[in-house]
Amino acid sequence: MNNMNNRGQIGDILYDNAIYLILVVIFTIGMFMFVWQQSNGAAIYEQYCVSEITRLINMAEAGDKINFDAQIATKIAKSNKVTDFNDIFRFNNGRSEVCVKLSLGRETCMKYYNNVAVMNDELKLGVPQNVLYFEIKERGVE
């Protein structure tokens, strides 16, 4: 009888504190994900890649062919379970935007002001390293 009462009391305590428990679980998962994403370099390396690619496009002229070293980017993406490497680099000519995704769910984007279009982008694997290749064309002739 006494044992049953104890069980009831434990149940009551858990029920009363359910909202606190849920909040603590959400908070812990959120913080863990944030620190993990920062620690494996995904966020900072996404920023690095997108900034450098944007700068290359801004400095380029129509007809230029560009190779960008993507070895570390693909390595980080693989460790973050990004299975399709074609998703890592994305060019949007309509919005003049470059996006890089090295972890699931989020990507880092930046706009380029040079009035050109990026064409024939392709991630070449093992040449001997992984390389992002793309061509710069005049806007309107793509």
Partner: protein, 153 residues
């Protein structure tokens, strides 16, 4: 009796507020610590302003000033929408730019912020150069605020 119960409920809600406040404080500490350890981000605004300034200078050197003023974006190969939306400021003045007054070509406003460069991370990074063309001197002021932004897919 009823009044006592209400007081009890208010006390429990107050505890929730205190609890949320504590979580926020801890989250703030963890985020600040993480950023201090891994760095806040990749600073690109100064280089961005340098490149844009160089492109404009090249454009003014290689074209007639009248053409540049008439159709700045077409002649210099720049995207108007991006420059206006992504936080760039451009001011090209005959002689020297003074304060907030727009010059012969201007994108954005409040060019005074370039004087605050270095005072705070939130201010844009600026590059100022000058070019002599057709016997006149022009000052080119370029400010960049664009940073890589993390977005959900």
């Amino acid at each position: 009796m009823s009044s006592t119960n209400r007081k009890g409920e208010a006390g429990s809600m107050l505890m929730l507020v205190v609890f949320l406040f504590l979580l926020l404080m801890i989250a703030g500490g963890i985020v600040a610590g993480t950023f201090m350890f891994f760095g806040t981000g990749y600073e690109v605004r100064q280089l961005d302003a340098d490149v844009l300034n160089y492109k404009i200078k090249e454009c003014m050197t290689n074209n007639y000033i009248l053409m540049v003023v008439d159709s700045f974006y077409e002649v210099c190969g720049l995207n108007k929408e991006v420059l206006e939306q992504a936080g760039y400021k451009i001011n090209i003045c005959e002689g020297v730019c003074s304060g907030n007054l727009p010059g012969i070509i201007s994108v954005g406003s409040n060019f005074e912020v370039c004087k605050f460069t270095g005072k705070g991370e939130g201010y844009p990074k600026c590059t100022i150069s000058s070019v002599v063309k057709e016997g006149k001197s022009y000052e080119i002021v370029v400010a960049s605020l664009q940073m890589p932004r993390r977005v959900s897919e």
